[in-house]
Amino acid sequence: MKTATIQLEALACPSCVQKIEGAIKSFDGVEKDTLKIMFNSSKVKFDYDDGKLALEDVEKAITGLGYEIKKSQSK
């Protein structure tokens, strides 16, 4: 189990949060209860099973939604 922290460009609307939340929850291997999307600090945090999920796929989905990723970390 790893924890991912993704710093996004500044989020402007609360509905962005809903979109990103929906996108990340659709991935298998994401611990849904740990998912936190912080609107003001524009950060995404979640635990995931690195056997089931590659973080790059989540990153791709987020960029696909039109949000630029500034920094992504997992440990």
């Binding site: 402007a12 609360p14 003001n40 970390q73």
Partner: protein
């Protein structure tokens, strides 16, 4: 390929808004100035298509994840306007929506700036000792515990660590709020995010990244600004169903009335903008203001409780008073004082009692003598023999026991010092009273004024709880003008007291005390505030962290939470008020249309953001 185009369009939203604005201006000039309807038509159609593109892309992406976002409502509304060939409305609505989003982004960034300033103080690089012994610059993420780092003058300390070699003065304001540099030498602890004003240090990393004190402060503030109160969670749930509901209502209106114009107007009016953004904006601005002023508020729940506070309970020692007792007055009786003070110091030197420390400090350098036959009398003091003289050091009871004569003059001194809240130390040589000292723990400077400010801000009960005797407690209480003061209390008595106030009297209680002994009370109170600087315990146990344990920040903290709570209520009121106003206008007036609706809607969003921004300038 398609997604690359989408990303391109989204990243050029602001430019698109600008082009839309120009096209609309061209269209209206052509219409009003030249009557050239062909140019007007083309300008408005182009503006609509161009403008709706980014909105439609966002709407489509949201729908893919089953979210009915505002973009969905606007896209359908613009599509509807297009369908009934009302290009003027479709162009203006897309432009206002994009332009509004741009202004939102700019103003939001301003409200977030205070916290960004804080996070940007985080160290980014470090000079790390490599295997060959040379120091190389690396990203701070590549530093592990146990690594040896070099810090030069002007550099940020990259980790929490211990000094191995070197000396230097460090500005620790980012952790403690104290701006005077602190001298560091071999063995001293240093903290990430603090700045080496001068000197060169080699340090070993003890804690890195998010585990450092600074990392924890940042995490705390970041989580706090995005924490949600019960009211906010309600609004979120509400918004989740509200937006689809607007869509359904618009569809029903269209089916019944067959009036597309009305249906799409409802879609635009129903956008829940100000409501969902109003509270988070107040929250982030309030917490940002606190972060700038050395007050860390742990989230919006804390803001709610703290702002409604009616009772504040203080621990005495170390919170209201400085925590190191000192002699306030000394009175000598008779002759041979130098010798008597030497005897007194010799006896007190062997005691670990806090009062003995104060006495020794007061006497300072003196000649010391060997002490024999030392006897400690519980609840009294010490007796001993020095150079053949019998020495008694202790309280009045001990003097009586020893048969020491207390003159009328001495008796009145004793009464006065006690009345003033002093603990007393008397010393007798061979049955003759020589020295009387009044010892008191000094009240921290400014505390009295700060307590008055708290009262003015509406805290009805200021209570002090202490383990000290009731006499001392009463004296401090009188001096500070407290409402209640209780002495002889153990930590568990304090906790029981807090519990009773909350459960039986229904008060909203804050407890201010030291983070170690008082932790049960800190945990029980609605708001716990641990004095103890940027220490781990204080950060962990406090709901409100005061940097540098500065008591003077309490009134600011209270005033700020009150202002923030008020600001949130105003924003909710504005947002709800605007929705009702728009709904009333659409049903009872002729002039309401999609463009005006969008203008009012975007306007209300800006109003709540600007209202929130006022909090950044709050000062007590």
């Amino acid at each position: 390929m398609a997604s690359a185009v989408q990303r391109f369009i989204l990243s050029r939203k602001n430019q698109i808004a600008l082009i839309c604005g120009i096209l609309i201006a061209v269209g209206f000039t052509a219409h009003l100035g030249f009557g050239n309807e062909r140019i007007t038509l083309w300008a408005l159609v182009t503006a609509s298509v161009l403008g709706v593109a980014p909105i439609a892309i966002q709407a489509f992406q949201a729908l893919r994840f089953k979210v009915v976002s505002i973009d969905v409502l606007v896209t359908i509304a613009v599509g509807g306007a297009f369908f009934i060939r009302n290009f003027e409305e479709s162009a203006i609505v897309t432009f206002l929506f994009l332009f509004g989003a741009y202004l939102e982004q700019r103003t939001l960034n301003k409200t977030r700036a205070a916290i960004k300033e804080l996070t940007e103080m985080a160290p980014e690089s470090a000079l790390k000792q490599m295997e060959n012994g040379e120091f190389e610059e690396v990203d701070v993420d590549e530093v592990d515990e146990g690594d040896i780092l070099l810090v030069k003058t002007g550099d940020k300390i990259p980790v929490d660590g211990t000094v191995l070699t070197g000396e230097g003065a460090i500005n620790e304001a980012s952790i403690t709020g104290e701006s005077l540099p602190v001298e560091k030498e071999k063995g001293s602890n240093v903290f990430a995010g603090t700045i080496l004003d001068n000197g060169t240090l080699q340090i070993v990393a003890d804690r890195v990244g998010e585990d450092t004190t600074f990392g924890r402060i940042i995490e705390l503030v970041e989580e706090a600004q995005d924490s949600k109160s019960e009211a906010e969670r309600f609004i979120d749930r509400f918004a989740k169903y509200y937006t689809p509901a607007v869509l359904v209502i618009a569809a029903i209106v269209w089916l019944i009335s067959r009036n597309i114009e009305l249906a799409i107007t409802i879609l635009v009016l129903g956008c829940p903008g100000a409501l969902v953004i109003g509270v988070p904006v107040s929250n982030v601005a309030g917490i940002g203001n606190g972060a700038r002023h050395g007050v860390l508020l742990k989230g919006s729940e804390v803001i709610g409780d703290f702002s409604r506070l009616d009772t504040m309970i203080f621990d005495k020692t170390g919170t209201l008073t400085e925590g190191n007792p000192s002699v306030t007055e000394k009175i000598y009786y008779g002759e041979g004082m130098d010798r008597a003070l030497g005897y007194l110091a010799s006896v007190e030197r062997e005691s670990g009692h806090p009062l003995a420390k104060a006495v020794l400090k007061e006497i300072g350098e003196t000649s010391l003598y060997p002490v024999e036959n030392t006897e400690v009398i519980k609840g009294g003091g010490i007796t001993a023999t020095v150079r053949g003289s019998r020495i008694a050091v202790g309280n009045v009871a001990l003097m009586e026991r020893e048969g020491v004569h207390i003159s009328e003059e001495a008796a009145s001194d004793i009464a006065r010092l006690e009345e003033e809240g002093n603990s007393l130390v008397l010393a007798a040589v061979d049955g003759e009273l020589k020295v009387l000292m009044g010892i008191r723990d000094r009240i921290r400077s400014g505390v009295k004024d700060h307590l008055q400010s708290l009262k003015r801000l509406g805290v009805k009960n200021l209570v002090m709880l202490s383990g000290d005797n009731q006499g001392t407690v009463d004296a401090v209480s009188r001096e500070l003008g407290l409402t209640e003061a209780h002495g002889n209390m153990l930590p568990e008595d304090k906790a029981a007291y807090v519990k009773r106030l909350i459960e039986e009297e229904g008060r909203i209680v804050a407890f201010v005390g030291d983070g170690v002994n008082d932790s049960p009370s800190l945990a029980l109170a609605h708001i716990g505030i641990a004095m103890g600087g940027g220490t781990d315990v204080a950060i962990e146990t406090s709901d409100v962290v005061l940097m540098n344990s500065d008591f003077g920040r309490l009134p600011h903290a209270l005033g700020l939470t009150q202002a923030t709570a008020r600001n949130m209520r105003q924003n909710i009121f504005i947002a709800v008020g605007v929705v009702f106003f728009l709904l009333a206008a659409v049903f009872f007036s002729e002039w309401m249309n999609m463009s005006i609706g969008m203008l009012v809607h975007e306007g209300s969003i800006l109003v709540v953001i600007l209202n929130g921004m006022r909090l950044l300038r709050y000062s007590s």
